[in-house]
């Protein structure tokens, strides 16, 4: 049975309307509702299902971030994860924490915890980097399948169906391996009250990047964060003829 590691990130809830900070250094996060990154939730669900099928022995969830990030860990624990690791990174250090740092942290923990399978969300919906799974695989030199829509675990390998343009690709990876989860992989469960209560008693280990020997000096500089351009208001025309005339006028037909 495999030891599984999942990454969970606390991000602005996807149902919240995003506001850019006036100084364009980022988006407003104060007082804004946060939740677990939806793709990470899918990763957690998949790991829990593996455990329920007796294909995984232990699931560890890790989060990197400030104190509040523990909320995401608690959610993961309530869904069925066995143990949490909170790598505390806060303030300005967290603002410039980048996929390369997170990947190094993940790689280190995977080694320390003798992990066989890492399942990560394909990307976090706040910075949209889609790099962490790939970089972690690079640091560990483990095989990688991104954008998984189906995971079947064998004795020494894992077969992954990947969502690709215009269809699916099925790949088999030797363990240890890394898989990144896409939207269609599963529908995450709701944590039930007894499990939420049990989760409170599950251990959360606290670490710092330093404990893991990871240097978090930023590699990328954010120059400006801006709103997407607003769409121009439409125009209502009285009939089809006017529509065609207008389209011709603008050279569309």
């Amino acid at each position: 049975m495999a030891r599984v590691l999942v990454g969970v990130k606390r991000v602005i809830d996807y149902a919240v309307k995003i506001r850019v900070k006036p100084d364009k250094t980022g988006v407003v996060t104060d007082g804004v509702k946060h939740s677990m990154n939806p793709f990470d939730e899918i990763a957690v669900e998949e790991a829990v299902r593996l455990k329920e099928k007796k294909l995984a022995s232990e699931i560890i969830a890790i989060t990197c971030g400030p104190a509040q990030s523990q909320e995401a860990l608690r959610t993961a624990l309530a869904m069925g994860v066995d143990k949490g690791i909170h790598v505390e990174v806060s303030g300005p250090e967290y603002e410039t924490l980048q996929p390369i740092h997170v990947s190094k942290i993940l790689a280190k923990i995977a080694q320390n915890e003798k992990i066989d399978l890492i399942i990560l969300g394909k990307q976090a919906i706040d910075d949209d980097s889609n790099q962490t799974a790939q970089m972690t695989s690079g640091f560990l030199d483990w095989s990688l399948a991104t954008f998984a829509s189906k995971i079947e675990k064998g004795e020494k390998d894992v077969t992954v169906t990947r969502d690709i343009d215009g269809g699916h690709e099925v790949v088999t990876l030797k363990l240890p391996a890394i898989v990144s989860a896409d939207l269609r992989l599963n529908e995450p469960r709701y944590a039930t009250l007894p499990n939420i209560m049990k989760a409170k008693k599950k251990p959360i280990q606290k670490l710092s990047p330093k404990d893991l020997g990871v240097d978090t000096t930023p590699r990328i500089k954010i120059i400006s964060v801006e709103d997407p351009p607003t769409r121009q208001a439409g125009q209502i025309v009285p009939d089809v003829d006017t529509l065609i005339a207008k389209l011709k006028e603008k050279g569309h037909c």
């Binding site: 602005i12 809830d13 996807y14 149902a15 919240v16 995003i18 988006v27 007082g31 509702k33 939740s35 677990m36 939806p38 990307q123 919906i125 706040d126 949209d128 939207l183 529908e187 469960r189 709701y190 944590a191 039930t192 009250l193 007894p194 939420i196 209560m197 964060v225 997407p228």
Partner: protein
Amino acid sequence: MLTQMIIRKLFNLRNANKRNNLKLSQRCFSSHLPELTKNRYSVKRGNYAVLTEDHKQFFIDLLGSTRVITNPDECLSYNVDWIKNVRGYSTCILKPKTTEEVSNILAFCNDNRIAVCPQGGNTGLVGGSVPVFDEVVLSTSLMNKIYSINDTSGVLVCQSGCILENIDNALEEHGLMAPLDLGAKGSCHIGGNVSTNAGGLRLLRYGNLHGSVLGLEVVKADGEVIDLLSTLKKDNTGFHLKHLFIGSEGTLGIVTKVALQCPPKPRAVNLAFLGLQSFEHILRTLKRAKQELAEILSSCEMIDASTLDVCTDNLKLKSPLSQYPFYMLIETHGSNNEHDQEKLNKFLEDAIAEEYILDGTTTNEINKMKHIWDLRERITEGYTKDGYVFKYDVSLPIEKFYSIVPAMREKLANEDTVRISGYGHLGDGNIHFQVSAREFSQQLLKKIEPYVYEYTSDLRGSISAEHGIGFRKPKYIHYSKSSGSIKIMKQLKTMFDPYGILNPYKVLP
């Protein structure tokens, strides 16, 4: 940020979004049209004018041809109610944009004795919003301007045809929210809500519209505009006339503008969905919730197992819990999430430890909360897929809240029904109770009515807690109102609308 938008779309797609459904199903009139009301029920057409070409021409001159609908296909959706219980055959739908136009229409109809059926979002559940015969429909759908929102006082002023959800979205930009919320919010109009005194899911916390409506502008049957559009919280000058129009279901006047007192949008919202063994346990949980969640409790709803099936079987929604005889939704609104969550969790942990509740889930993630609310808000829609729904909405003393369901099951044990079940606003003592059958049957109707009303009346309950009287219940109003009060209602009706052109055949016996 971009993914944030894309994912929102994807997730919504995956969960086949609800609001659209509501709007769609409202417009989608397939083979299952109800029989014409005039044939199904024994009603006699009043002595109103039959619409002539000249009448229609007057309306066209007033509104222009695009705002006078006469094409039978287009008229159809205005003639059938949302749960397809009743059908009229109006051939003229009017869509004014201003108070002045409403006034001109009514003055003309009053002079010519043309009967008028006021219509908002046509989501009413008692057959009040559609014509019984050929009444002209006055639809407020184009009266959708929001005039002002005051961040400090929380007062919103708008036209009566604004859709509740649009109002709520506009208020959100100001850190406020609408004082009421109901499953029909994507379609119902604020004027319709006012006219039915709609209750909804959070009445328990935010009170009813008699409290949150500060002012109204109303047009009387003769076209006179009455300005009651106060935006003041306190105003004790003379009789409080606005209250007459709140809940009078379009029989005393047409509401054209509304001033609403709106509460701040809560910063912290939490929702629990619980599974319970019996109604006894529900009562105990309610009592505890009131004591322990106290000021943050914002909603307390119950659903029985058979009702939840309409969501899971008919609408293919997923329940986060396995199966239990009863379910509860408990919601909190507050300003500090840590505080609220701690309170809610403590309450739930105790309840589980003491075995009030068997299982449950809690969340404050926006979309998860929405999915759980869907299980409550889409029940009415889910029910329509059973076939014909006999729908009742009664207030009962809280201990007897659920008793009507087993009583009805016993009474109808030998009848051909699909489902007999109950759910509703537990915190307000208001149960929605229904019998569904594959199709309408007089025999079944006779078994249910007046039995339900007698049952309710014997317990000193109300035969219509929030949906109103409409077309379906005038002859039963006496089960809840004394003859003295009905007499005064009739006198008021005559005073406001001497020729009875406004929503005839409705409300009063």
